[in-house]
Symmetry: C2
Amino acid sequence: MKLLFSTLIGAFVTDDNLRIIEHGSKDQLVKNHRDAQAANAIQQRAFRAVLKKSNLFQQYHVEARQHAIHTIRTLPPQDSLINHAINSFSELNEAANMLVKRCREWYGLYAPEAAHDLYDNELFITKICEKNRNALLKELQVEQSMGVELAQTDVDEILALAHQIKQMYHLRTMHEEYLASMMKRYCPNTNELCGTTIAAQLIEKAGSLKRLALLPSSTIQLLGAEKALFRHITRGARSPKHGFIINHPLVSKADRKGKGKAARALADKISMCARLDYFKGEYLAPQLLKELEEKLA
Amino acid sequence: MKLLFSTLIGAFVTDDNLRIIEHGSKDQLVKNHRDAQAANAIQQRAFRAVLKKSNLFQQYHVEARQHAIHTIRTLPPQDSLINHAINSFSELNEAANMLVKRCREWYGLYAPEAAHDLYDNELFITKICEKNRNALLKELQVEQSMGVELAQTDVDEILALAHQIKQMYHLRTMHEEYLASMMKRYCPNTNELCGTTIAAQLIEKAGSLKRLALLPSSTIQLLGAEKALFRHITRGARSPKHGFIINHPLVSKADRKGKGKAARALADKISMCARLDYFKGEYLAPQLLKELEEKLA
């Protein structure tokens, strides 16, 4: 008489003495051994003791581990790569902004006019890296500077910081290009519709492209406005109208009253694009963008 | 009859018709023109009208401006330079720590074992900049990595971030050396007693060496512990025992009960050193340090 056992690590067919005849998936064994009987509780307990003595558990563990490693190693890493790249981009930005403030004040000892007049951070850094103080002040048409005379070692220290910041700006641009090329392949529709930065921010906040595709468009509209949303819920402040998508030209260009409408319409199309991208649909973004522009015109 | 006027912009001697004969400091004019009479209120008013017509105000303005510019430009900038350098040092540290966390997670996709095992941030960055993944994993004796296979462009992006962080660490070290050499000249006693970083932090928090020199030692003991101090004052938490000086070996090495005593004694000596430095006293720090060590032994 053959017995059929079904356990966590697969199904087994044994003879009367609980010697394993065959091992495999339950369905297969049921088909092959129609004469086998299902084991009762007492037989089950006895069979577990047999199994424990064999090295089947060990084998199962090794195989399961291999399988898990293989699954993890071959997971498509696009979502994580996008998340890390966009986070690194924002963190570089934050760090550079913090350091540029310091650099401005520090250089302000030496040439306060330059620190004051060159309002744009990147321009300021580029200029002070390129030119020495006199050339810079001449360019800004400052006749007499209020700056302190510093020793060359002091100035060098400030310029070392400026060069560091310049490289951070450079790396930020690199990240942006990398993101753009990756997203053009991974989510062409969303990328085309919102631009790389916004699309990446949305994916990062949602967690992955899959989750973004499954979000309702009203949620997409407010991604990135969590703080304002909770202010609205807990303290009755006005409800936010837009999150990250405020930076999209169609929303930012709309007048004050039209911003909400533009954000709603854009979020709608983003939701469609994310679904197209996730479910490997067609490339419809230019058409959707055109529709949107016509609607908001 | 000569009249003597004293105004905001100097003193004047005039004749009867309020024509200015001489212009200069009041003391000088009183000495030179003992026969001059002090002007009464009506004459004062008439003289002010005369003054307004002349270009003396204009002249005074130009001179005062020149004087102010000269004063500002020749101010000793040591305090500001120290403040900026130590702030830049801490901000670089903060920025690098933020980015290294990102880099660790990002590289963790590729070689999770390296991101986990190389616990020290600087070591981690140095290693991944130097070696490729296989060499690194071999060194860490990892047989089978759980890392995902990434394209070379993806890896390059991570390594670009790592190189950036490495340079930030390098700049941080440069700042430290710069600070050390500046402070050895500017405040040798404080620098010797507390070490460069703590001394610079104290000067930065106090605002300048002068202010540090004028602070009571009990305040110096708590510089940098403002948050804990206000928690103590407003919410009755325990009073803090030490601020920045917690990082001084004499305080950090003391046992839990001895920390307060060590901090108090150290703050006392720091206060002395700051005064020696500010008032250009002798170089007594080694002696003070020795006294302190004996007291705390």
